[in-house]
Chain length 323, copies 2
C-alpha cells in the first residue's frame, strides 16, 4: 500500500508534458489555428506545465505538407512565431517518429526553439532510435524515448531494449500503453522494470497512457506513485482514438503548488468544446474499450468511428476473430 | 504489488451488481420502459451478472407516485411482471434509503420476488439503518448496507459505524464513493479498514464508485484486487452526475468464465444510446471533475448540467469558495 503522505506531498522531480497538439493532431490532421496554439502555450505557462509538445517533425518526403496542418512538421520558424525567444519556464518538445523523420531536420539546439526531442520507436527499430538519440543529443537537445506497443511484447524483449537505450544518451524512458490495454496492476510491474534500468543507467521514467478502458488517468497516477516522474497529459484528453490522460485530471491531482488547474478549465471552455462542435471526434467509446480488452491496435475502432457506425455488437464480432 | 496470477485467475466469491435502474433512475426520474427493463433483465442473465437492482422502495408518503416512474417505488407486483417466478441465477435487489422508505413496504421474502435489500445510510443514521437491517433480515432477505459520503468522514467514525453494523445481521458492508473524490490509493486504505471489520464479523465487502475523476472503474478494480467481493456497475455508466463504474468494463476485466461482455454491447447498442439521444444526460464532464477534486456533493454540478451551462471556469470560481 502506498504511503498516505504521497497523496498530500509531492516529488519535485515530477514533470508534466502537454501532448495535446501531437497526439491530438492525429485526430484533426494537425490543423490547429494559431489562436488555439498561442492560447495553449499561455495556458501551459499559467498552469505550470513543464513541457509542451508542438507536434511531429515528420519527413516532408514521406508526407505531403499540403495535406496536413503545419504541426505535423514543426518547422523551427513556425514554433518561433508562437513562442518568440520563449523566455519562460515552459520547455518546447517535438516528436521524432522513427522511420518517418530525418535527422537533418534537426538543427543545433542553440539555434532552435526546441528543447526536448521525443523519439518514438517500436522494439524492432531500437537501433534506428539509438542513432537518432545520439544525433539529437549531440546537437544539444534533451531526449526521451517512447517504446510503443509494449503490451504485445515479452518482458525479455523490453529489458533488452532498455539495456540498449540505457547505454545511449537518452534522458527519459517512456512507458507507452499504445493500445490502452494495460491495467494499473500491470503498470506497477512495468514501472518496476523501467525504474530498475533507469536506476542502473541514471535515467528518468515517463508514462504515456491511452483511455480505451478509462484507465489513462488511473494508470498515470499508479505510475507516479511507483516513482515514474514524467507524465503525459492532453487537455480534454484529446488524442488518437480514445484519447489520453486528461491534463486537467493531472493538474487536479498533483500537489506541487506550481501546478494550477484553473487555466485548464478556461482553455477547455474556450477551445476544446469548440473543436468537438466543429466535428473533431475523439474519446472513450465502446469500440475503443473493445480493442483495449483485446489488446489490439485501435485502427479498426478509429475506422468504425470515422464511418459513423454504432453497431457495437457487430464490430466486436468482427475484431474478436483472430484467425 | 499485486500478484500477476490475480489478473489471470478469479475469485469465485466476486459478485456483480447491476445498479443501472437504481442509480440511473436518478437521471430520468425512473421512467424506464417495460421493454428496456425486460431487455436489461435478460441481458444481466446472459452476461452472468449476479444481482439486478430494480430501483428504490421509496415512501409514497414522501414522494408523489404520479411524479416518478414506477421503479422509484419497486412494488413487488411490478417486479413480478418482469421476472415472473425468476427461475434464474440472477437475484433481484432494491434499495431502501434510510429516512425515505418504510419497513412496512417490505413483505416476507418468501412472498416477494426480491432477494436482496440494499440499505443506504449516512453515518448519522446508522441506528435507523440497523433497525431496517434487522427488520428485513428477519423477513428473510439478504441485506447489504451502503454507508454514503465517507470521503467527508473521519476514520474513527467509519470504524464505529462498521463495528455497530458488524453486530447487525447485515451480510455486506459497502464502500461508497458518493462524491467520486477518492483515488485508488485511498480506496486501498478504506478497503483494508472495511475488510478488517468484515473478517471480525464474518461479513463481505462491496464497492460502489462514481466517475467524477474517471476513476470509477480503476477504484473498483483496485478494490477487487484488495479483496473486495461485491462490485456495482451500470451499463454505459448510467448514474447520478458523472455516472458509475461501467458494467461493460467490469465484464471485460473479470476472468470468471460465467461473465460475458457481449450481451452488454448488444444492450448498450439497442437501449443506452437511445436514452442519450432522447436527452437523458449523465457522465463524466468537467463540472463533475471539479466537485470530485473539491470533495463536494455533485448537486451543484448536476444543476450546472441541467441549466445547460458550459462556463466551466465561472462555475469553478463559484464552488471553490468555502466561506
Amino acid at each position: 500500500m502506498k504511503e498516505i503522505s504521497k497523496l498530500m506531498d509531492y516529488r519535485s522531480d515530477v514533470r508534466l508534458v502537454d501532448a495535446t497538439m501531437r497526439d491530438g493532431g492525429l485526430v484533426n490532421d494537425f490543423y490547429f489555428t494559431d489562436d488555439f496554439v498561442r492560447d495553449l502555450y499561455l495556458t501551459n505557462i499559467k498552469a505550470g506545465v513543464d513541457y509542451m509538445e508542438f507536434g511531429y517533425k515528420a519527413s516532408k518526403e514521406m508526407f505531403d505538407p499540403t495535406k496536413f496542418g503545419k504541426w505535423k512538421f514543426c518547422n523551427d520558424e513556425d514554433i518561433r512565431a508562437i513562442v518568440g525567444e520563449n523566455n519562460t519556464d515552459l520547455k518546447i518538445a517535438v516528436m521524432a517518429d522513427i522511420g518517418r523523420c530525418n535527422k537533418s531536420d534537426f538543427i543545433e539546439r542553440s539555434e532552435s526553439p526546441i528543447d526536448l526531442v521525443r523519439v518514438a520507436t517500436y522494439l524492432h527499430t531500437i537501433p534506428a532510435a539509438v542513432d537518432m538519440i545520439e544525433d539529437v543529443a549531440k546537437k544539444g537537445y534533451e531526449v526521451s524515448c517512447n517504446i510503443m506497443a509494449i503490451s504485445n511484447a515479452n518482458d525479455k524483449e523490453i529489458e533488452a531494449a532498455l539495456d540498449i537505450l540505457g547505454k545511449s544518451p537518452v534522458d527519459v524512458f517512456y512507458i507507452v500503453d499504445s493500445f490502452g490495454s494495460l491495467y494499473p496492476e500491470q503498470i506497477a510491474r512495468i514501472a518496476d522494470m523501467y525504474l530498475n534500468f533507469a536506476a542502473k543507467y541514471n535515467k528518468k521514467v515517463g508514462i504515456h497512457a491511452h483511455n480505451n478502458q478509462q484507465l489513462a488517468f488511473a494508470n498515470t497516477i499508479e505510475a507516479v506513485g511507483d516513482g515514474v516522474d514524467w507524465l503525459d497529459g492532453t487537455y480534454a484528453e484529446m488524442g488518437r482514438g480514445a484519447g489520453n490522460c486528461a491534463m486537467e485530471l493531472l493538474l487536479g491531482f498533483l500537489r506541487n503548488p506550481k501546478y494550477n488547474v484553473y487555466p485548464a478549465f478556461q482553455f477547455i471552455e474556450k477551445h476544446m468544446n469548440k473543436l468537438k462542435e466543429d466535428g473533431v471526434v475523439w474519446g472513450y467509446d465502446l469500440q475503443y474499450l473493445m480493442t483495449g480488452i483485446l489488446n489490439q491496435h485501435p485502427r479498426t475502432a478509429i475506422q468504425f468511428t470515422k464511418d459513423g457506425r454504432k453497431d457495437y455488437a457487430e464490430f466486436y464480432k468482427e475484431i474478436v476473430v483472430m484467425d
